[in-house]
Symmetry: C2
Subunit: 360 residues, 2 copies
């Protein structure tokens, strides 16, 4: 399926929704993709179930603090150079690229890379949403080697990492990203078609586009976008979506530290009487609590949306006074296994709460 | 010339002397080299003037905080793996290795690598002493590309850096070294024989061995080691050595930060009446001052020696109460050019004092 120009905005809206507040604003990535399409280049989206067993897929992505991305716009050469460096290390060209995460800008980076290199993009990813660290991938859980991993910046610098440990890959790559100025572009987790089928969260680019379409058309058709989203998500592997809070942003604590955007946002309820909702984030929203009670918890997706339009608001654009609704979404079974929860459940973020899936 | 077992200790003593307090204690490196010789492997030291024009030389070294090196002993595989990674990136095997700095442990790392890989070691280096940062190389000043640079740790992890800027190479590699635990092993500045002849400080391994021999034999022959050192160094390209201070260590401020050993040492004079000498260091000693007057300044070599035996004391082993003498040594002309002073003169370390060579 060829990606159409009119799909890009929907895909970006859906990617912001699945980004759980993080993942980097897909707006910039969307502009990069549209520019490629307007220049006459094509972007072929392919179904993971159609991959030949020995196809070489090299995922590509951005990493770093979304707050930095707002001011340090990519030239476009960075992710292409990273993918080329992995190809060079493997001694083989990629047959396709794919997202490592579907949430945020990383849904669009592989589309851009695919356009530039003339290779298709697999309709799947390794997070089914956005997570802040690069070992938090279903690829890693399913035993795919992260390296050779390449990481490139806008100055033309590139580093290639080799390690047998996904956490150390993240640790070293994060150090490089900080030294590269807070954001960088990477390619890693090279996989065969067989591995993609086993280790990825499937059809998530299509999911993002559909979520974006629902948010856009609900407004036009005068439907409640929250109800429409809940209805649609119930038909997918994500199982369930639910509006868990509404109110006004009354406090915001946001820092850029350790290569991440860290902090919390407080949303006071419309009625003004009950307890506010507090959402903590490390790039992505990790927990939503009110009155000491957990409303939603990672890996479930917690997204802050405009109270009227349901347009998602990423954490770097949160502002005091915004009227918002908070939506929680379950995640597919591959993201709820004991191995998956070890990699990106609450304890992986230092939280003590026990995860109970919204999907159950 | 084959390196003999009985030369190793002298070479290590001389390397500690040229290390200007930094460079990492060569003791550990000396043990590694002796183990190779005792295992029957040979280490061939070759004269840079004898190199064929198209010989490929890949220097190898350790980087990080000497204080960390004391507790995190290398397995020996790290520098070998780094050199192999540069070979892989170049698609060509190294014909020889060489030191990037002759001061400290980095005089011995290439000897070890040469023994393991069965390749000779060039009798030359890129610093003529030790400096704390990896762009502070005559190689860089003479226009040799630093990359491909590889950096490896004891866990088996490796990173390959590509950049066209020596400062950014240092910046990124230092970030990786910190994340690798504070010390790491690298290979970089791959050079042809022609480049080595133009861009290196020559015959510095021989110089280190001779300095070590003088310190050892002076004691045995009941000669004043300081006078013997001054006499010998006056016959070399370093031009001049001078004992600039004697006394007892009365204060020591030493921290491990930003991947370096940082601080200062205060030496109070034997007479107890005049002002103390204060030496500031960033791994290596940068300046020696007394009563607000500069006694010696980087790139001249400032080394703290045992007051009796003239055995050099590296900064991580300085202790309160030690009786010491401070010796300053000039550096060869290639290290005093305007380009050289820009790379590793006082201003490169944020010092405001004007360098006046001791050799002049």
């Amino acid at each position: 399926m060829k990606l159409q120009l009119e799909d890009v905005d929907d895909l970006c809206t859906g990617a912001a929704f699945l980004g759980a507040g993080g993942g980097g604003d897909p707006y910039i990535g969307g502009l990069m993709v549209k520019q490629e399409l307007l220049a006459g280049r094509e972007i072929e989206i392919i179904d993971p179930d159609d991959l030949a067993p020995d196809t070489l897929v090299i995922p590509s992505a951005m990493m770093g603090a979304p707050t930095v991305l707002l001011e340090k716009i990519p030239s476009g050469e960075e992710p292409v150079r990273a993918l080329r460096a992995v190809e060079h290390a493997l001694g083989r060209k990629a047959d396709a690229t794919m997202p490592t995460e579907v949430g945020g800008i990383n849904s669009t980076i592989p589309l851009f890379v695919g356009a530039r290199l003339g290779i298709p993009v697999v309709d799947a990813d390794g997070q089914g949403r956005a997570f802040p660290e690069i070992q938090m991938e279903t690829f890693a859980i399913e035993g795919v080697s992260g390296t050779p991993m390449a990481i490139a910046d806008e100055k033309g610098d590139c580093a290639l990492i080799e390690t047998d440990d996904h956490h150390r890959m993240e640790w070293i790559a994060r150090g490089i990203t900080i030294r590269m100025g807070g954001t960088a572009y990477w390619a890693a987790y090279p996989m065969t078609g067989t591995e993609v089928k086993r280790a990825s969260v499937k059809h998530t680019l299509s999911l993002a586009r559909q979520i974006g379409r629902i948010i856009r058309t609900s407004r036009h058709d005068k439907l409640d976008p929250f109800e429409e989203l809940e209805r649609f998500i119930a038909t997918t592997s994500y199982g369930r979506a639910k509006r868990i809070f509404s109110g006004k942003i009354t406090d915001l604590d946001r820092q850029t530290s350790r290569g991440f955007t860290l902090g919390s946002v407080t949303i006071s309820p419309d009625n003004g009487r009950s307890a506010p909702c507090i959402i903590d984030f490390q790039n992505e929203n990790l927990s939503a609590k009110a009155d000491g009670k957990v409303l939603a918890l990672v890996p479930d997706i917690i997204t802050v949306l405009d109270a009227e339009t349901a347009v998602p608001i990423t954490n770097e654009t949160l502002r005091y006074g915004q009227r918002v609704a908070v939506m929680a979404v379950g995640v597919p079974p591959i993201m709820r296994s004991p191995a998956a929860l070890k990699q990106f459940g609450p304890q992986a973020f230092g939280l003590s709460e026990t995860y109970v899936s919204l999907a159950d």
